[in-house]
């Protein structure tokens, strides 16, 4: 078959799929200009998450992060593990050790200086996105993905020898990654261990105390100038996820580069 036939078939399939989904959503009453109310689940989270003593209180004003890390925390942990295994697979296939490539020729002084200037700014932005994940949209994964742009810029402008000399070694990154994922798991089962020792009920990925489970993480710190919101597990999980994702994407980029992506 010609490639134009392939394109036509894929476009047709995509259109039919989109139409089916749209018709199904309208028939089920979930979409359409006349639907003005949220579904019950959305209302439950929107009214429950910011309210103390409710069933899904997360000590955080950010509903999306609360749902991701608190209400369905174990699901997000599996997503992190999927990324972990994917990067392990990439490393297994592509690279034994990272090669230190010199600065690529053709990159001018302008690009080098600008990439050197912009990389720290990107790192600061990514840290801000990750550390404010429980207050504003964003979080550990997003912050880690933003962080990975800085090594890409340095790799393009300066070559991997610069990155390796900055300390982006394979073993350092791998251990950071493993530490991140392990700490996420430990944070998840921390309440369970404490509950077992104390002899009270607890859940996996429990954030704030629940009616049947009276233990939980520190939600906020009270100071004379006002409360510092921590969001219980949310800030911890965001930091560990940031570590794992940032190190993982950097590893993948370095592996692709040293497998012969660049010129020898």
């Amino acid at each position: 078959m010609k490639s134009s036939t392939h394109a036509a078939i894929s476009v047709t399939v995509a259109l039919i799929f989109a139409l089916t989904v749209a018709i199904a959503l309208i028939k089920l009453g979930f979409a359409g200009p006349w639907v003005t109310q949220n579904i019950n689940l959305a209302n439950m989270f929107l009214t429950g998450v910011p309210v103390p003593h409710s069933c899904c209180f997360s000590a955080s004003p950010e509903v999306v992060t609360s749902v991701i890390w608190d209400e369905r925390g174990i699901d997000t942990f599996y997503e992190t593990s999927v990324l972990f295994l994917a990067i392990i697979g990439t490393l297994y296939v592509l690279a034994g050790t990272f090669k230190a490539r010199p600065t690529p020729e053709g990159m001018t002084l302008i690009v080098r200086v600008i990439s050197k200037l912009v990389a720290p700014i990107i790192i600061v932005v990514s840290l801000s996105v990750a550390l404010h994940g429980h207050l504003t949209p964003g979080g550990g994964f997003q912050g880690g993905a933003i962080f990975a742009v800085a090594p890409v810029l340095l790799l393009a402008g300066w070559g991997s020898s610069k990155l390796l000399s900055l300390g982006f070694e394979r073993d350092t990154l791998l251990s950071l990654r493993v530490t991140g994922v392990l700490l996420i798991a430990l944070t998840g089962i921390g309440t369970l261990i404490i509950g077992l020792l104390k002899g009270v009920n607890a859940y996996v990925f429990l954030n704030q105390p629940k009616p049947q489970a009276p233990i939980g993480y520190l939600g906020w710190i009270s100071t004379p100038w006002g409360n510092i919101v921590l969001g219980g597990t949310l800030i911890l999980l965001n930091i560990f996820e940031f570590l794992a994702v940032a190190a993982g994407f950097t590893l993948a980029i370095l592996a692709v580069d040293s497998s012969g992506g660049g010129k020898e």
Binding site: G106, M107, T108, I110, V111, I114, S115, L117, V118, I121
Partner: protein, 123 residues
């Protein structure tokens, strides 16, 4: 008084950004080859991106809103402007260089081509 001046200075910068964006889009359509169009695109990103951002930063200072809100918007607008100023010229520079190096686009009506002379000399 100072609020009025800040507000109208910001509005003027915003308006200038809009005009420069229109000029850039006209240039994008009318210029003949890649390098000239890159010039128009950079007018769009610096003139049509940085001037309005600086304009917003100054305009907000003259508004009658809570000061935390004011400084929040001013700070983020100025930082965004700084990042665009740093990255946009470098990006268009390396695009032009790459297009020249890969011989994808030839600088056709050219009086002098120093890059090509340099390459010939090195060979």
């Amino acid at each position: 008084m100072i609020d009025q001046i800040l507000f109208w200075f910001g509005v003027a910068l915003l308006f200038m950004g809009g005009v420069l964006d229109v000029i850039a889009s006209v240039g994008m359509n009318r210029f003949r080859n890649f390098y000239l169009r890159l010039h128009a695109a950079t007018i769009g990103s610096i003139g049509g991106g940085v001037y309005p951002l600086v304009g917003v930063a100054i305009l907000v200072l003259g508004l009658d809103v809570p000061s935390t809100f004011k400084y929040y918007i001013t700070g983020s607008a100025l930082i965004s402007a700084l990042i665009v100023v740093l990255t946009s010229p470098a990006g268009s520079h390396i695009l032009a260089k790459a297009a020249h190096k890969s011989r994808e686009v030839l600088p056709k009506p050219a009086i002098v081509d120093r890059l090509k002379e340099k390459e010939v000399n090195e060979e």
